[in-house]
Structure formats: structure tokens, C-alpha cells
């Protein structure tokens, strides 16, 4: 008995020491290694722009918690009731090719990004500051500048072999061996936020979800996409999932031209859509059914918007009005196609002749099924970002929840945008990936990730 106790006395502390050492080994990130990621889109122009986020920085950025953080701008201030904003640039930042980041280059990049739909009227450099001036107030400008559209790139890259779109200040720079099917990214040693843990990232584009999952299971990929509709299956297959709970809003955009200029027909369409079928079956009970623009946890008043389908009311609103055949555009395939077809079926029940048509680049047609970004933890800013993505240019004033509710209610009453589901964005990671996290908009934060087997 004593012998046994003596042995235990020595072994238990030894085990605890070893265990502590092992835990330390698992939690401390290692530098080095190549992280392999596979995505279905092209990584640059697709809405998530996974590759672009690794190459470029904005003046601001969203954190994992949705809060706004400084990026290339260290601080900012507004004047004249939000008509003028001045962003002070972080000093000592260089583009991947060594060109220093200056206010003029930032202005050039921003001007290039604008296609007449920028929130500001003019932007100019003042020393190491960038000054935005708008005819109307720009209360949410810092949040808007965190969007993909306003990432800063070097516009005069010269004869550099790297594509002009991709010379930025991000944690990774594009390698010489890159091609549109396989981006070879290398760590930016002089990154202002600190060198990423991994040396390289390979991003294979245009991979189907099935192939991505197969490569993940065979150890040929470290990070793969998990669409919302496949989350349940991924969980059943015991994949390691990292998800942002409400990163996108699935919404039906209704045009205001032709027969749909009649608000009663738009209301009828809004009432005829069956959200529960989309949620329960097509998206496999992932995300949330919603009839509001912003999630419940962001605003607290989402529940006030009814999500139930009312086919009788849809018929009543249509009132026997003849409506010409309508086209429902959708982007993508899989669940989006299925959702579009299902909505077409719902609308046929209400007496509309709707045909779902896939378009590579969704246009503003009769009806359009869209995925809109849900970015940030600031409701007004998130709403403005969302509405701008939907083509709405009016700024959303920050105010009380009640004011925000009224603003959203009035907007939704037009029935030009019918919120359907808040959808998560998720990735499955391999066993050797550590510290993989998603930003609030669902973008992978690969600069913080590391590899288990890195030297």
C-alpha cells in the first residue's frame, strides 16, 4: 500500500508536469509551414473575396467580435456633423513591393474603387491624413471603409509582375507562381500587424464542395468551405467546423418597374414566400428565419417583423391582378438555385408566373435572390452596409433602437427587399490547423492561424 502510494506520489506530479508541457505545446502557435485552403469562388471578385482580404488592408477592419478596429488608419475623427472625416494613416507601412503607404496613394485607391456610389463627395490627402467630405452626413463612414470595396491597393504598381489588383499592405503577398486556379501567397515579413504564423498559403479556387471535403479528408487541404446547407452534414461527418453565426442575409429583392411598380403586387409576393421551407429543408435548419434586415442579437427588435407565410393574404393583395411572367435571378448554384426554385413555386401558388434563372452576375431584374453582408456590431452601420450592398445609397443615421426600428420598418414596408434567412458562414479545418478564427463578416483570419506540424 505504501509502495503504491509512493509511486503515485512521484508519478502524479510528473504526469502533471508533462501534461502542462504538452498543453503549452498545443496552445503556443508555431511559425512556418504552408496552409492549404480550397474555395469554390475565385477568391478575388467573389463576395467573400478570401484572397483579397489576405493581400489588402482597409483603413479600418472588423474584429472577430464585430467591433471596428483601426487598420491602416490609426485614428479618425468627424467634423461638421459627419460631413467631414479625417483618417490619420499608420506610419511606416509599406506596400508589398516596398512602396510606402501615403495618403495620396490611399486617395488614389479609394477614387479607383468608387464608381459613383461612394458615400463621400470628395476625398483628398492632407499630409498623412485622408480627408473625406460629403454633401450629406456620413455617420457610418469608418464602418463602411472596412468593406471589401474600399481595401487599399497600389494603383501604380508599374511593371511589377503582380496583378495591379493585388499589391497591398496585407499580411500576405502574392507569389510569383500564382495563377487564377491556385494562389501562392507568402507571408509579409514587414506586416504592420506582425508577421503571420504560416509562411505560405495556397488557395485553390473553383473547387466544388465535394472535392474540398474529399481533399480535407485525405489531408490534401487544411481549410475548406462549408456552405450553410451542408453544415448539418459536416457535423454528422464530425468535421471540425468554425462558423460565424449570422454573416449573411438571404433576401429577395423585388424590382419597382413594370408590373411590380404596383406595391400591392410586391406585398403579395412578400406574403407568399415560405421561409420555413427554406430554413427547414433547403438550408437544413441552419441560421435563423428572419423578416428583418439585421439579426435579433444585433438590434433586439427583429422578432417584431412577422415571418409567417400568409398565402390567403397574398391572394387578397394580388386581387386578381394580371401580372406578366416574372424572372427570378439568383447567383450561384446548390442551395441558392433550390431556394430560387422554391420561391418560384411559392409565388406560383399565389398566382404569379415566375421563372428562376441563374445569372453569373446578379442584375436588378424583376426578382433577385441575394446574399447580403451582415458586418459589424453597430446596427446602424451594419444596416447601411447591408442596404448599400442592396443598391440603397441613403445613409442610416445612428440613433435609438426605436428610431432604427422605425427606419427599418419603413424601409421594409416598401417590399423592395424581403429578408428571408440569416445564414452562417462556416469553414472546416484540418487537424493540423490551430487558432483558426473568423472575423465578424465570416472572413477567415488566416494571419492568426498556425499549423500544428510547423517546424
Amino acid at each position: 500500500m505504501f509502495r503504491r502510494c509512493a509511486i503515485s506520489f512521484f508519478l502524479v506530479p510528473a504526469f502533471l508536469v508533462l501534461a502542462e508541457g504538452g498543453a503549452w505545446a498545443r496552445t503556443r502557435p508555431h511559425y512556418g509551414g504552408t496552409l492549404r485552403m480550397e474555395i469554390a469562388g475565385d477568391g478575388i471578385a467573389s463576395p467573400d473575396a478570401t484572397v483579397l482580404h489576405l493581400l489588402l488592408d482597409g483603413l479600418t477592419r472588423f474584429g472577430a467580435d464585430g467591433a471596428l478596429h483601426p487598420a491602416l488608419a490609426m485614428n479618425w475623427k468627424s467634423e461638421d456633423s459627419g460631413h467631414r472625416w479625417e483618417f490619420s494613416l499608420r506610419p511606416g507601412v509599406q506596400f508589398h513591393n516596398g512602396v510606402p503607404l501615403t495618403a495620396d496613394r490611399v486617395v488614389a485607391s479609394l477614387n479607383l474603387a468608387c464608381n459613383g456610389d461612394c458615400p463621400w463627395t470628395t476625398v483628398h490627402a492632407v499630409g498623412q491624413s485622408v480627408v473625406f467630405v460629403g454633401d450629406s452626413p456620413m455617420p457610418n463612414l469608418p464602418w463602411l471603409l472596412a468593406e471589401k470595396q474600399f481595401l487599399i491597393r497600389l494603383t501604380d504598381a508599374g511593371e511589377d509582375k503582380v496583378p495591379a489588383c493585388c499589391v497591398g499592405t496585407g499580411p500576405f503577398q502574392i507569389g510569383a507562381q500564382s495563377n487564377p486556379e491556385l494562389f501562392q501567397l507568402t507571408a509579409n515579413e514587414g506586416y504592420w500587424g506582425g508577421r503571420p504564423f504560416v509562411d505560405k498559403i495556397q488557395v485553390a479556387t473553383g473547387k466544388s464542395i465535394r472535392d474540398q471535403w474529399l481533399d480535407l479528408s485525405l489531408g490534401r487541404a487544411d481549410v475548406v468551405e462549408v456552405p450553410a446547407e451542408d453544415l448539418r452534414q459536416a457535423q454528422q461527418q464530425r468535421l471540425t467546423i468554425v462558423a460565424a453565426p449570422a454573416a449573411e442575409l438571404l433576401a429577395l429583392e423585388i424590382g419597382e418597374t413594370g408590373a411590380l411598380a404596383n406595391p400591392m403586387l410586391r406585398s403579395s409576393i412578400a406574403e407568399a414566400v415560405d421561409r420555413s421551407a427554406l430554413f427547414n429543408v433547403i438550408f437544413q435548419k441552419q441560421g435563423e428565419i428572419t423578416a428583418s434586415l439585421l439579426p435579433q442579437e444585433l438590434t433586439g427588435f427583429s422578432f417584431l417583423f412577422t415571418t409567417d407565410r400568409d398565402l390567403d393574404k397574398a391572394h387578397e393583395l394580388r386581387g386578381g391582378l394580371a401580372c406578366p411572367p416574372l424572372t427570378l435571378n439568383y447567383d450561384g448554384n446548390g442551395a441558392m438555385q433550390l431556394a430560387a426554385q422554391r420561391i418560384s413555386l411559392n409565388l406560383r401558388e399565389a398566382g404569379f408566373d415566375v421563372q428562376a434563372v441563374a445569372l453569373k452576375a446578379p442584375q436588378h431584374g424583376d426578382l433577385t435572390l441575394r446574399l447580403l453582408p451582415l458586418h459589424g456590431s453597430e446596427p446602424a452601420a451594419a444596416m447601411e452596409i447591408l442596404l448599400r450592398a442592396g443598391g440603397e445609397q441613403a445613409p442610416v443615421e445612428d440613433g435609438s433602437p426605436a428610431a432604427l426600428y422605425r427606419s427599418e420598418r419603413d424601409y421594409l414596408a416598401r417590399n423592395t427587399l424581403v429578408p428571408l434567412l440569416d445564414l452562417p458562414r462556416a469553414y472546416a479545418i484540418g487537424s493540423r490547423v490551430r487558432d483558426f478564427a473568423l472575423l465578424a463578416d465570416g472572413t477567415p483570419d488566416l494571419a492568426s492561424a498556425s499549423l500544428e506540424d510547423a517546424p
Partner: protein, 615 residues
């Protein structure tokens, strides 16, 4: 038309009709045989298609059977029944349909709602009524597709065992161009499938009820192996008949105007569970071979018929000549007999009826010639007798006064000289008168025997009439029909001249014709001792001119009319009976005819018909 021509025509027509009838019968029979064979061949292919169709149906049923019996399907059904959660199986139908190589597959839950649909994944949760009344046998069904179109398919429904209420599978194969492409097609054959737009389904998505809307024939819905069937519009009647009657229909389809391009088509309606025709399967077999064979045979038949008809015509010529030659000889001989040559003879050949007729003809002409000779002899004797009698009679009358005068003269020789002289003067006077009378009688006979030959010239009939009329009725004025009355002879006789205004030219001797008409006028005047009306008229009748001399006397009896033109026949007390004979002779010399119309008490009219002179 001559007998030979008639015979030739008759023989030719008879043979041609016979050849044509035989050729037509042969052609009709051949065409029927070909068409029957063609239809049998088409029916064979149609039955082959029907077997293939049934085979496909069985394949669909077997595929759905295998799916329903699979472990995966049973596990799914059990979980569906237990949990009621259909969401995990949204894409199950697509996977199963892919594995079973089915175009359509739907998993229908215990509540009759679609759990998963391969052809329209978004249709989950909607009812599928076809599973409730489905028989065990495969059936046709029109399926709606997400793009708004519809597709026709062969469907089978099977329950997945082990669950109650059962989960069902309804799977099917598309009936379209690819289905046709798998069917065995012989060379020259076309197959097509017409999806009836009339059965286009307007589905009530909430209840699954369907309705149909009437639609017109749409040629673009008739698809063949390589897309739209060529000449699809020409199948309209056939397809509409098949859809309307619901029965297999056959017919000839002519895509072009050329018969070689025609097709023997069979339209087989494909029906759904309710017996409504939803589609029509077209099997069309080219008739090119049959038509070419028919045309070849027809060409041969026409050639043979033409040759036969030519031979028949040649044979008919020979036969007609053989038959008609003796008859023609007989006819020519008869014509010669009619022309007065009674000495003609026909040479009899053989012993047939025609040769008998020829011999009879020869005998007849010989008898006729003999009888004519006898008649001439007897007539000559009779004429001489009559002449002698008339001469004796005529001469007897003056001879008797001559005899008395001579006897008186002889007796007067006894009288004194003065008385004798007186008797002598009277007797010589009487003798002179009687001798003159005798001379006159002799002169008449002499005139009759010496009728002059007519000297023909072109004259106008009206001139002749007026000349005669003015001679005997001098008070008449030419150009006026009844220009007055006068007396001709002792009784009052009126004259009337009636002439046609048309020209009436004659080739005639005006003197002889005047003399003949004058004779007739004198006879007419003699026939009206108590007065009356003398009418002279002339008018053209066809190619002749009619000259008429009519009186209103007592007329003539039929017996008198018969003998009127006999020489020396007279009804007058002192007539010679030569007047009308002379008239008849003159008329005959002018190639004319004379006749008399008379009724007892109704006057008489002498009618002379003379040929009109040419232009």
C-alpha cells in the same frame, strides 16, 4: 363513216377497253397487294415498338422496385416515419435516381407529400397525387419541370416495405428524343413522338390537382430521333385523329408532292392512367420502294397495253378489211345498179352469208335486167299500140269529114255546074281545113319526138314567172302582186304572182322553161271554165327553187294525178295528152322534178322543183 371504219373503230375500242380493263385490274390488284404488304410491315414495326415500349416500362418498374427494396431506402423510410423530419433527404432522390439511371424520381412521404424530388428538388412538401391511385403497372404521366416546361415519362410507383403508412417511390424515364434514339429503327423508317399540348398540365401545387387546356396542333412538338421530325405539319390529321379517337390510326402522309416521298404512317396514342391520350407515337415507313416498284410495274403495264392496243388496231384493220370488202363490193354493185347499170356482178368468195348474199345479188341483178328488158319490150309494144290507137283516133276525126266531103264532091258531080262549083268550093275548103288539121296533128307528134336540147344559161326565176304572167295576163304590172283583174278566155279569171324577195338563180333554158310554164298556165285556164284565180309563184327552198302554178278549178282525182304525166293521156275532149309530157320532159332536162297537188274541188297546183344555180 364507212363500214370498215365502223368495224375498225368497234374492234379497236373493244380491244382497247379490254386491255385497259385488264391493265387497270392488274394495277389495282398489285397496288392493293403492295399496300397490304406495306401495312403489314408497318404493323410489324409498330408491334415491335409496342413490345419495346412495354420492355421500357418493365425496366422502369424494375428500377423502382430495386430502389424500393434497397436497404438505404428502407432505412430512410423508417427514419422518416419515426422522426417525421424530411429535411435530411432533400437530395436523396437525386442520388437514387442517378444510381438507378432514372430521369424522374420522387420520394413521397406517408402524408402523400414529396420528400425529395430528383427532377424538381424545390418541390418538396407538395402533394403528389399520382401515388395514390397508381396501379402496379407502369403508366404515362406528364411531369412539370422547374423551368416551366413539362416532360412526358413512363412512371412506376412502389411502396418501400417495412413502414406503415408506406413511404413511396415514384420513378420514371423520360419519353423524349433520347428514348426514340434507343428504339430500333429500320432504314427508311421515321419515328416521332408528339407530346400533346392539350394535356399540358396546369397543376394546382397545393392540392396536386391537374387540369387540361385545349391547344391546337403544334408541329414543333413532334420530335424525331434527330430533332424535329421532317414534315411534321403533314402529320396533323393523323395525330389529331389518334388523339381524338384514342385508337391507333393509319394513313398515308405526303411530305412533298412526290409520291416517292410519301410515308405509310401509324399513329399510336399513348394514354395515361385515366385513358386520356397524352402523346402519340408516330411510326412512318417510307413508301419509296413500293412506289418505285408500282411505277415500274405500271410502266410495263402501260407498255404492254399500248403494244396490245396497237396490235389490236392492226388486227382490227385486217379483220375489218376481210369482213367489209365483200360488203363494200356489194354496196358498190348496188350503187351501180341504182345508177342504172344492171349488168354489174359481184364475185362470191367462200360459203359464208356474205357470199350467199353476193350470189343472191348477182341472181337478183340478172333477174332485174331480164325483167327490165321484158318491160321495155312490153312498154315499147304498149307505147306503139297507144301511139297507133291515138294516131288512129286523131287521124280518124279529120278523115271522116274528108271522106264525106269527097263523097259529097262525087255526088255533086251530078249537080249543075253552079251548084257543083259551090259544093266544090265548100268541099275544097273543108278538105283544106281537115288537111290542115291533119298537118297540125302530125306536127304535134313531130314536135314531141323532136324535143330540142336545152341551152342552159343563168336566169332569174322571177323573170321567167313574170314573162309567163305578162303573156297570159297582160294587165299585170311587174312588181305588184295583184295589180288588177282581167279576163283570160271566156270566163273571168284573176291572176296573182307571188315571188320571194330573195334571189332565185337558175341554170335553165328560158325558152323551154317559158314553154313548159305556159303549158301549165293554159291547162290551168282550161281547168277554170267558170272563172277562178290563177296563181304563179316562185320561192327558194334550200338549194332548190320552187315554181308553182295553181288554179282554183275543180281539181283532179287521185287516179288522174297518177296518170297525168303519161304521154297521150288527157282529160280534155280535144287534147293530145302531150302537153304535160312535154312539161315533164323539159323539167327532167333541167334536172328538176314536177309534181301535182290537188284535192277534188280544191283546185290543182303544179310544182316544179329546179336546182338553184351556184354562185
Amino acid at each position: 363513216m364507212s363500214l370498215r371504219q365502223k368495224l375498225l373503230l368497234l374492234f379497236s375500242l373493244t380491244v382497247a377497253a379490254a386491255v385497259a380493263a385488264v391493265a387497270w385490274t392488274v394495277l389495282v390488284r398489285i397496288r392493293r397487294v403492295f399496300e397490304q404488304r406495306d401495312q403489314e410491315e408497318t404493323a410489324l414495326f409498330v408491334s415491335q415498338f409496342q413490345r419495346e415500349f412495354q420492355h421500357r416500362s418493365a425496366e422502369v418498374a424494375a428500377a423502382v422496385d430495386r430502389l424500393a427494396a434497397g436497404e438505404g431506402a428502407r432505412a430512410m423510410a423508417l427514419e422518416l416515419v419515426q422522426t417525421g423530419d424530411a429535411s435530411p433527404y432533400l437530395t436523396a432522390a437525386q442520388t437514387m435516381a442517378q444510381d438507378a439511371q432514372l430521369d424522374f424520381l420522387e420520394i413521397v412521404g406517408p402524408d402523400g407529400n414529396v420528400v425529395s424530388s430528383a427532377q424538381w428538388p424545390a418541390r418538396f412538401g407538395y402533394p403528389e397525387p399520382a401515388v395514390f391511385n397508381a396501379a402496379n403497372q407502369p403508366f404515362l404521366k406528364r411531369e412539370q419541370l422547374p423551368d416551366g416546361s413539362t416532360a412526358l415519362g413512363l412512371f412506376a410507383v412502389r411502396s418501400i416495405r417495412g413502414t406503415d403508412p408506406p413511404v413511396k417511390l415514384i420513378g420514371g424515364a423520360r419519353l423524349d428524343q433520347s428514348f426514340l434514339a434507343d428504339l430500333p429503327v429500320a432504314p427508311g423508317m421515321q419515328i416521332g413522338l408528339y407530346s400533346d399540348p392539350q394535356t399540358a398540365v396546369n397543376a394546382d401545387l397545393a392540392t396536386g390537382a391537374t387540369s387540361s387546356a385545349a391547344a391546337a396542333y403544334d408541329p414543333t412538338r413532334l420530335v424525331g430521333v434527330d430533332g424535329n421530325l421532317p414534315g411534321a405539319a403533314h402529320y396533323q390529321r393523323l395525330i389529331e385523329t389518334a388523339l381524338k379517337s384514342g385508337a391507333q390510326t393509319n394513313g398515308i402522309v405526303d411530305p412533298t408532292a412526290r409520291r416517292e416521298d410519301s410515308l405509310n404512317a401509324t399513329a399510336t396514342p399513348l394514354k395515361n392512367q385515366s385513358g386520356d391520350a397524352m402523346a402519340v407515337l408516330i411510326v412512318a415507313l417510307s413508301r419509296a420502294g413500293m412506289v418505285e416498284a408500282q411505277q415500274h410495274i405500271r410502266a410495263i403495264a402501260y407498255g404492254v397495253a399500248a403494244g396490245g392496243i396497237l396490235l389490236a388496231i392492226a388486227f382490227s384493220l385486217w379483220i375489218a378489211a376481210r369482213f367489209s370488202r365483200p360488203i363494200e363490193q356489194l354496196a358498190r354493185a348496188a350503187e351501180e345498179v341504182a345508177g342504172g347499170n344492171w349488168d354489174v356482178r359481184v364475185r362470191p368468195r367462200g360459203r359464208d352469208e356474205v357470199s350467199v348474199l353476193a350470189r343472191s345479188f348477182n341472181h337478183m341483178t340478172a333477174r332485174l335486167a331480164d325483167q327490165r328488158e321484158r318491160l321495155i319490150q312490153s312498154e315499147r309494144v304498149a307505147a306503139w299500140r297507144e301511139l297507133a290507137r291515138r294516131l288512129a283516133h286523131e287521124l280518124k276525126n279529120p278523115l271522116f269529114p274528108l271522106q264525106l266531103t269527097v263523097e259529097n264532091l262525087v255526088r255533086a258531080r251530078e249537080l249543075p255546074q253552079e251548084e257543083f262549083d259551090e259544093v266544090f268550093r265548100e268541099s275544097t275548103s273543108t278538105l283544106n281545113a281537115e288537111i290542115a288539121n291533119l298537118k297540125k296533128i302530125v306536127g304535134r307528134f313531130s314536135d314531141f319526138s323532136k324535143m330540142p336540147k336545152p341551152e342552159l344559161e343563168r336566169i332569174e326565176a322571177s323573170d321567167v314567172i313574170w314573162r309567163v304572167a305578162l303573156l297570159h295576163c297582160p294587165w299585170l304590172v311587174r312588181g305588184v302582186k295583184d295589180s288588177g283583174e282581167g279576163y283570160v278566155g271566156p270566163a273571168p279569171i284573176g291572176c296573182s304572182v307571188e315571188l320571194s324577195l330573195e334571189p332565185m338563180p337558175l341554170n335553165a333554158d328560158p325558152e323551154l322553161l317559158h314553154r313548159a310554164l305556159s303549158n301549165l298556165v293554159l291547162n290551168a285556164i282550161d281547168a277554170m271554165p267558170n272563172g277562178g284565180t290563177l296563181t304563179l309563184s316562185a320561192r327558194p327552198i334550200g338549194d332548190k327553187v320552187e315554181l308553182r302554178v295553181a288554179d282554183t278549178g275543180e281539181g283532179l282525182t287521185p287516179e288522174e294525178c297518177e296518170r297525168l304525166f303519161t304521154p297521150y293521156y288527157t282529160t280534155k275532149q280535144h287534147g293530145t295528152g302531150l302537153g304535160l309530157a312535154i312539161v315533164q320532159s323539159v323539167v327532167a332536162d333541167h334536172a328538176g322534178t314536177i309534181s301535182v297537188e290537188s284535192h277534188a274541188g280544191g283546185g290543182a297546183a303544179f310544182i316544179i322543183m329546179l336546182p338553184k344555180a351556184g354562185a
